[in-house]
């Protein structure tokens, strides 16, 4: 089934892209990395169903409840409070199991669940219950890693897409029109990229409480400049190509020329840069979290886990886990990036 989908997808590609597809999947390391990464990312998208302190499914009084998606007051199950049921409370569990049963997720903790009955003081070492131990606030490390991985990737993807849209647009305008626009644009870029990103973030963090979107916006302010030079160079080259001249002689408007004739060429350079922009974004987010200027306190983040590892050297599972997750993720992305870069390399086409 999936083979048939990829086959029809493959046939829809232009011959150049088919060759790129072949080159990429011919590269064992890159295609395995892509496979592993896709599985990990796909899994993490369903983190709520894997690691959660709310049960997946409850049968109570011959009725089914899905607490993962719907919030039920404790009174539903015969409890006393009008607030949402606290499923980690043994009393609530007892109430439910009297008249039904509970299906728990694989890991019965969310990233912010404080586990009350730990056998040793937090951070506690790995046990059958907490596969890679808990952190210094008695939260399950596996759950935090799962959620942290997801937020890192999503953040990096959003940042990459955002900065490539802005970067490509600015680079295209500079390269295509050249002259004064290019001159002033380049000078602006030089000044802009000279601004210290970290200090701006620290100053901002003292004024506002940075959340996911704030952080994304602030980092976008600085990260879009990365692609401008590449795209600008491609457009500078592209505007003098014969087929661009032919289109111009035909009376095609500038925006159409840019979009239809030059952009596909510039996209090659952009595509090869993107995986590395992605890894850069992950590292930046992690380091901001490590320094404490990143996501709000309590959110699942690899940087925060890293800094806990530094603060709790007697609990090596914290640092080792953070290191393993980060290095695996970055390595996979770099391998995929190399594969894409090689697949898009025009020199390979002649061979």
């Amino acid at each position: 089934m999936s083979r048939r989908i990829t086959n029809t997808l493959y046939e829809k590609l232009s011959p150049i892209n088919q060759r790129r597809w072949d080159t990429f999947f011919h590269n064992k390391r890159a295609s395995w990395s892509l496979l592993i990464f896709s599985i990990l990312f796909f899994t993490s998208l369903f983190a709520e169903l894997i690691a959660n302190d709310k049960p997946l499914l409850i049968a109570y009084d011959n009725q089914l409840y899905v607490p993962v998606f719907v919030s039920y007051p404790e009174t539903t199950f015969g409890g006393d409070f009008e607030t949402e049921a606290e499923y980690s409370d043994p009393f609530v569990v007892e109430l439910i199991e009297e008249k039904g049963w509970i299906i728990w997720p694989l890991v019965p903790f969310s990233y912010d669940t404080h586990i009350a009955d730990l056998p040793e003081p937090a951070p506690s070492s790995p046990t059958a219950q907490n596969w890679i131990g808990t952190d210094d606030q008695a939260r399950d490390v596996f759950a935090r890693v799962l959620y942290g991985f997801r937020i890192s990737i999503l953040f990096a993807l959003a940042l990459t897409i955002g900065s490539s849209i802005i970067g490509v647009a600015v680079g295209a305008a500079q390269g295509f029109y050249g002259g004064r626009i290019d001159l002033y644009g380049q000078r602006f870029l030089e000044i802009w990229s000279g601004l210290p990103q970290l200090f701006v973030l620290i100053i901002l963090a003292s004024i506002i409480q940075p959340n996911f979107w704030w952080l994304l916006a602030v980092m976008l302010l600085f990260s879009w400049t990365g692609l401008v030079d590449v795209v600008r160079a491609e457009f500078l080259r592209g505007r003098n190509l014969d087929y661009v001249r032919a289109a111009k002689a035909m009376g095609v408007s500038n925006t159409t020329i840019m979009y239809r004739h030059i952009l596909p060429n510039a996209m090659v350079a952009t595509m090869t840069m993107l995986p590395f922009v992605l890894t850069g974004a992950i590292s930046t987010l992690t380091s901001l979290d490590f320094l404490g200027f990143g996501l709000p306190a309590g959110s699942a983040s690899l940087g925060e886990l890293m800094s806990q590892g530094k603060g709790n050297l007697h609990a090596p599972w914290l640092a080792i886990t953070a290191f393993m997750v980060l290095s695996t993720m970055l390595t996979l992305l770099v391998f995929i990036g190399e594969g894409i870069r090689d697949a898009f390399d025009p020199r390979l086409l002649s061979q």
Binding site: S14, I16, D242, R245, A246, K248, A249, M250, G251, P264
Partner: protein, 545 residues
């Protein structure tokens, strides 16, 4: 002569190629490009290897030097005997002592064959130093001597120049000096004059002849140009699709070719008359001029200061006045750098210019880009390199139909029909319209470019060397097509070329451009038969037929 075990080589044979094949690994399959080629090169002769692009002539020659991209390329069979040794199986260090020492080589593009970061002296001296034929302290003298031999003026001063400071002809002379530095017995010349202007071409060929007698060496000349062959070669090998189809004395083959392919090569010389212009009336005033220019000039600033005005300009075109009768062809003849392509781009308003341009008696030189856009459909351009002028990411149908979307809305069926029509008109199979440009040959690509220009019914078509990148036989077909289209559609052509034969076959009027100025203009016949300007005379006499 050494006494080797394989004493097959007779006294006057320098190099013997036996059953040579060249193949390439391509993914799972192998492509066989050169198939069982055998020939001898005798002492002191010029042997020409003739064929169209893709015939395998260069690969054969490069095998002699073992310059192919091994191990992607390999030889399924064959041996190349030189000095009783098989060059294909020699160890690499022995081979390097033969390269540049006993066999020299010159390439088509002297700009890319010379290292742009080293001086001329350093590059020539390197060859001498590697093979240690000349004692170290005499190297400089030897380099100067070599430069003088290849007729480079002010040889001492040129020692410290870099390749970009020399002209194309001078660069090729330096290449020859490098190839001859160690007095090789065999010189392989791979299209040595293809990238050069006609006047320079003749000088370089004369130089090669002179040096051949001086050094008593053999030349293996690879070329597609029968004019060069006739001028240079003693014997000819004609190659087609990796096989030698005919060989023999130059004169015999050129006059009485036996093989049909050889005949085709010889016959496919641009010929024929331009299309007769339909004269509506004979009176002078009634002649309509489709496009004309008045004192058109183009200049590029040499140094662009950030503030203030630029004072130093390079004048690419000066005061060009011309007018073209509708339905006729104006040939623009000139060597590289003369400004002939700049003229076309300026008339199309694709670059900035001064002066007036009139299209159908309407001045277009002052219009803004937006006002001009609707008029653009009247003027179209076809470029030299059909590989660069088609977007590799668009299908043929997308490329051809692009113009249709610009002028008025059409439904999909009508667009399809129009694309099919125009493809048939230029001699392409409409069934191939969903393919991409790289699947087509050079000639077919040029037809696609013509279809793209013609689908919006232009009045004037600018043709910038449309046949220079094509093989001779294909050139003929494209010229025939252009002639047919002109007749059917009453097109006006502005035809730019450096090739006198091609110009002659299409043009009614000719202007000759040198350094951005018109040096001669007039009717094609009078300019070509009785040139008055010395530059035109020089151009005509240098052309090899």
């Amino acid at each position: 002569m050494k006494k080797g075990p394989m004493n097959k080589i007779s006294m006057n044979t320098l190099l013997q190629v036996n059953q040579l094949s060249v193949s390439f690994h391509q993914g799972q399959s192998n492509t066989h490009i050169v198939k069982n080629v055998s020939f001898d090169v005798y002492h002191n002769e010029t042997l020409a290897l003739v064929g169209e692009s893709g015939s395998g002539k260069s690969l054969t020659a490069h095998s002699i030097m073992r310059l192919l991209p091994y191990p992607v390329a390999y030889h399924p069979s064959g041996e190349i005997l030189f000095d009783d040794e098989d060059l294909l199986t020699l160890p690499l260090n022995t081979m390097t002592s033969i390269r540049g020492r006993k066999i020299g080589m010159i390439f088509q593009e002297p700009m890319s064959a010379l290292n742009p970061l080293h001086t001329i002296e350093k590059q020539i001296a390197e060859v001498l130093r590697i093979h240690q034929v000349v004692p170290k302290k005499h190297i400089k003298e030897k380099v100067i001597e070599l430069l003088k031999q290849v007729h480079i003026t002010d040889a001492e001063e040129k020692l410290t120049s870099y390749p970009h400071e020399l002209s194309g002809g001078q660069r090729q002379r330096v290449m020859i000096a490098m190839a001859l530095a160690n007095q090789p017995e065999l010189l392989i010349a791979d299209e040595p004059t293809t990238a050069l202007d006609v006047t320079v071409q003749k000088e370089i060929l004369d130089l090669l002849k002179e040096l051949q007698t001086q050094y008593k060496m053999s030349i293996l000349l690879i070329t597609h140009d029968l004019g060069v062959v006739k001028y240079m070669a003693d014997r000819i090998l004609v190659m087609n699709q990796g096989e030698i189809v005919e060989s023999g004395q130059t004169q015999n083959i050129l006059e009485q070719p036996k093989n049909t392919y050889t005949q085709l090569l010889i016959d496919s010389h641009p010929s024929g008359e331009p299309v007769a212009i339909k004269k509506q009336t004979t009176s002078e005033e009634a002649v309509t001029h489709t496009i004309s220019t008045k004192s058109l000039s183009v200049s590029f600033p040499k140094n662009k200061p950030l503030f203030g005005r630029c004072t130093d300009f390079f004048h690419a075109l000066r005061n060009i006045n011309l007018s073209i009768e509708s339905g006729s062809t104006l040939g623009i003849l000139g060597e590289s750098g003369s400004g002939k392509s700049t003229l076309a781009l300026a008339m199309l308003r694709l670059i900035q210019s001064e002066g007036k341009i009139l299209l159908d008696n309407q001045s277009i030189s002052d219009l803004t880009e937006k006002e001009l856009r609707p008029l653009r459909r009247k003027m179209q351009m076809i470029f030299q390199d059909p590989f660069a002028s088609l977007s590799p990411r668009m299908s043929v149908k997308q490329i051809i139909s692009e113009g249709l979307h610009l002028y008025g809305k059409m439904d999909i069926d009508e667009i399809d029909r129009k694309v099919d029509e125009i493809m048939q008109e230029v001699g392409l199979d409409p069934a191939t319209k969903n393919r991409y440009p790289h699947e087509f040959s050079g000639g077919q690509r040029q037809r696609i470019a013509i279809a793209r220009a013609l689908i919006i019914n232009p009045k004037v078509v600018f043709l910038d060397e449309p046949t220079s990148a094509l093989d001779r036989a294909v050139q003929m077909q494209v010229i025939d097509l252009l002639r047919k289209l002109q007749k059917e559609r009453q097109l006006t052509y502005v035809f730019i070329s450096h090739d006198i034969h091609v110009i002659k076959a299409l043009s009614h009027n000719i202007i000759v451009i040198k350094n951005g100025e018109i040096v001669e203009e007039g009717e094609a016949k009078s300019v070509l038969n009785k040139p008055s300007h010395p530059y035109t005379q020089q151009l005509l006499s240098a052309a090899l037929t």
